[in-house]
Amino acid sequence: MAKRRKSKGDNLVLRYLVLGSWALFCLVPIVWFLSIGFRPRTEIITPTPIYWPTFSLDAWRLLLADWPIFDYLRNSVLAVTGSVVIDLILGIPAAYSLTRYEYRGRDDIGFYILSTRMMAPAIVAIPIFFLFRNLGLLDSVFALMLIYAAVNLSIVVWIIRSYMLDIPKELEDAARTDGAGDLRILWEIIIPACLPGIITASVIAAIFAINEFLFTLLIASTKNAYTMSVALANFTGGSDGVIYNAIALVSFLAFLPILVLIVLIQKHLSRGLTMGAVKG
């Protein structure tokens, strides 16, 4: 008895050691960024590394005084959230249709949706610029929402579709004989059953959207629509040279919303909500 407990304890130590090392490995870049963000510029580019830098809020002061950093952050969050909402509104019914209904050309349509992802975005950059100029939507967050949504829709549809394929058809047959119509089946049965897929797709779309650079650079020209990713570029040019500590801070700020999001929904990210639906 005592022996067994001891060996279990050993296992636990080993387990935490492995997990801890992995966590360290993953967290080092973040810590490094923070450490760069909080040190003076003079301590960044040195031939010998400085492990315990002088604490400095220079970069913060620069950001807060000279740059509308919270406008950028707001634009990023709005554009990303909006685009994910648009993607879900369009993507969930599309995925459902591609999964369950049988019609001619269904698989071709599915492939077409996926294929939009294969195109290099730069190819359509100029048409998109003119399109949005003619619509009068240049330099607006709304335009960014639409573009991010369009770019990510294919991925959202395909991720959700793959989850929907795993939902047993019996569930829908049961709902139908119980008296539910198509929309109600989608809303009450399918969406809850593939919630992990919807969340996964949303997170992935959000990550892609928050990192989007090309179209944002094209559409945005002032703080009305500048996002974190484009703002970053502002610190690499100009008469001051590359401002590494500001870049590190902005990167960290851009990464923060996603981190918070993932921590909040972590338990949904794993599959398993359909457990118990069928057999077991």
Binding site: E170, G181, P192, M275, A277
Partner: protein, 357 residues
């Protein structure tokens, strides 16, 4: 509570015919079992009654109304699925409530109906659980409760017990039959398990390759099979089928000679159930064979005999003990013998042996 009729129903999937020309009349309050090997079209037939498949030809009539064009959700039919199909995101209470909600049953009545249905299947204590937190048998009962809660016209059950272990299966069988008798709801039950079919059914429909082979009460199906398929499908172990030659009132096959009705002649197949065979002394034997296997089950002993090219199952006394290779003589119960046309497999309907003699 309704009568169900299938008139010349055909279901085709592209070039494949799932169900061919099916005519079936299911009486009100009847418990009908569709029995057959997998892929015989029994589930497709049931799904056409449910409205989940549209027949390619023919009519489905429920309660006197042709329902071909009626959507599943507007047919007053409840179905229990092989995999239970409980909604994983809802509690058992919500699962049972779902059909009531969909059909706009007043809120005031819902709770009473749900609790009554849950009591019927002894699930009252589990209403707050999610399906994932229930055992297989409990899930099965929850699925039953969801089906009975709204008192449908028709119950459809698609192999509802096939995921349960043997012990649970037999107790659920009793529950299902009791429930059906209590509620007096026309029930169609699909299974490939002949024990389920025999124990549950008022009438059994035996299907093979999309066609009906025989319809009858369990007794009729067992004692009076219409062809070799039914004879070989029903019974465990199934009926012994021996091909041989009939001439002048004698049927002969290697190791087997038995008097047969005069009307039977030519190449025929003899069918004998294992329990209609008796170990007898010399002179009375119709069959002689050497023991190939002995299987005591406790209540009885199954002997497998080798005669000529074929193996022959015999149900012997519980204390019958033989050694492999022993010579055993077997006599038949002459009233119980069946003859089939070897070519077509169809039963030869002739005057029984007794009246000829």
């Amino acid at each position: 509570m309704a009568r169900i009729e299938l008139k010349d129903v055909v279901k085709r999937y592209g070039g494949f015919t799932g169900v061919r020309r099916m005519d079936l009349d299911i009486a009100d309050e009847e418990f009908l079992v569709l029995l057959g090997p997998s892929g015989c079209g029994k589930t497709t037939t049931m799904r056409m009654i449910a409205g989940l498949e549209v027949p390619s030809e023919g009519e489905v009539v429920i309660g006197g109304e042709v329902v071909n064009e009626v959507d599943a959700r507007d047919r007053d039919v409840a179905m229990v699925f092989q995999g239970y199909a409980l909604y994983p995101n809802m509690s058992i209470y919500e699962n049972i409530r779902f059909p009531l909600r969909m059909r706009g049953i007043p809120k005031a009545d819902q709770d009473r109906l749900i609790r009554r249905a849950a009591e019927m299947v002894e699930l009252g204590d589990f209403l707050d659980r999610k399906p994932g937190a229930l055992s297989g048998g409990q899930r099965q009962r929850a699925a039953l409760a969801r089906a009975v809660v709204r008192q449908p016209q028709v119950f459809l059950m698609d192999e509802p017990l096939s995921n349960l272990d043997a012990k649970l299966r037999s107790s659920m069988r009793v529950q299902i039959k009791h429930l059906q008798r209590q509620l007096k709801i026309t029930t169609v039950y699909v299974t490939h398990d002949q024990i389920e079919a025999m124990t549950l059914a008022d009438r059994i429909v035996i299907m093979e390759k999309g066609a009906i082979r025989q319809i009858g009460t369990p007794d009729e199906i067992y004692s009076d099979p219409a062809d070799t398929f039914v004879a070989g499908f029903i019974g465990a172990p199934p009926m012994n089928l021996v091909e041989g030659l009939a001439e002048n009132g004698r049927f002969a096959a290697p190791g087997l000679v038995v008097a047969c009705p005069g009307g039977v002649s030519g190449r025929v197949t003899l069918g004998v159930r294992p329990e209609d065979c008796h170990v007898v002394g010399e002179g009375l034997a119709a069959l002689e064979g050497r023991v190939y296997g002995v299987e005591p089950t406790g209540e009885t002993t199954y002997l497998t005999l080798r005669t000529g090219e074929t193996l022959f199952e015999v149900k012997a006394a519980r204390d019958a003990r033989f050694n492999l290779g022993d010579l055993v003589r077997i006599g038949f119960d002459p009233d119980r013998l069946c003859y089939f046309d070897t070519e077509t497999g169809a039963r030869l309907r002739v005057q029984p042996y007794r009246s000829v003699a």
